[in-house]
């Protein structure tokens, strides 16, 4: 069932991501200048006339790995990234699919994988403003 947003308001769309056991990604605010932050972006033409008001990332867990002198800010297991969308009152009502991508770079305790883009697709329904 698609999520419902109301025209003329701001709505939150939380998206849950899950990593397989034994993997971690850098958080949105890595603890090292060379590390690649996790970042969710939405495809502006595909979401228009909705606008992204803010994207809230969870705080990273500070984890110490054998390969690093200091703890790193990472996500592992399940984590939620929430986007707040601004919807104009004139937004056409009905079903929509919002598309975007999650850029991330994952590692295990011995190996790292190149940065990847994960396609994100979310179905919503816009209800008329009241």
């Amino acid at each position: 069932m698609p999520a419902r947003l109301k025209a003329g308001s701001t709505g939150e769309v939380p998206v849950t991501f899950r990593l397989a056991n034994g993997y971690h990604t850098n958080s949105s605010k890595p603890a090292d200048e060379y590390l690649i932050p996790l970042k969710l972006t939405w495809d502006a033409p595909a979401i228009a006339p909705l606008e992204v008001a803010a994207i809230d990332y969870p705080a990273g867990k500070m984890e110490k790995y054998e390969f690093s002198d200091k703890p790193l800010s990472v996500y592992s297991g399940e984590f939620v990234v929430t986007t707040r969308f601004k919807m104009p009152a004139t937004a056409p009502k009905g079903a929509r699919t919002l598309t975007g991508k999650l850029r991330y770079q994952a590692c295990t305790h011995t190996t790292c994988y190149p940065p990847k883009n994960l396609a994100v697709s979310v179905n919503i329904a816009i209800a008329p403003a009241q």
């Binding site: 709505g11 060379y34 790292c112 979310v122």
Partner: protein, 195 residues
Amino acid sequence: MTSKLRFLPALLAGAIMALSCGSTGSVVRAAVKKEKDRRPAPNFTLKDSMGRPVKLSDYKGKVVLLNFWATWCGPCKIEIPWFIEFEKTYKDKGFAVLGVSMDDEGWDVVKPYVEKTKINYRMVIGDDMTAELYGGVDSLPTSFMLDREGRIAATHVGLVSKSAYQNDINTLFGASAAAAPAAGGAVQVAGAGQR
């Protein structure tokens, strides 16, 4: 007004780690292959930080540690000081480390890191074509030990121990050439008899 939505798209669950296929991420320790089992290391030409071409084939006659890495790869950074030491110890004995950075941003990020870390071996920026020649290099670090004939004698995927590389070097040099440094006194042995 803010409407709170409870929307958890199940389609994303598990998708994030699709890239984990084919690798467990565990430490892989490969022994040096027998000569008959070694295949030629694919040749490539890449540029160093000065824009000079570096051909792998130019290293024929040397034992080469070919290391694919990136600045964003934590485990890679553990190995780099070992490689610096190996280069220092064995450079004059027919050994070379060749680093291949897989950073998309190229020298903009690699050059400052090389300088900061005082990397003493040659570095080039890799590309997809080169990675493909070596099986795709799906994860980092990935290193290949090449014998003097330019054949792949050992492959290491993921962080392995310093002693694993040391053993490779010892084997490829022959026991007599590298036995003393293998015991942990590399720097002292390198200078012995020269003063």
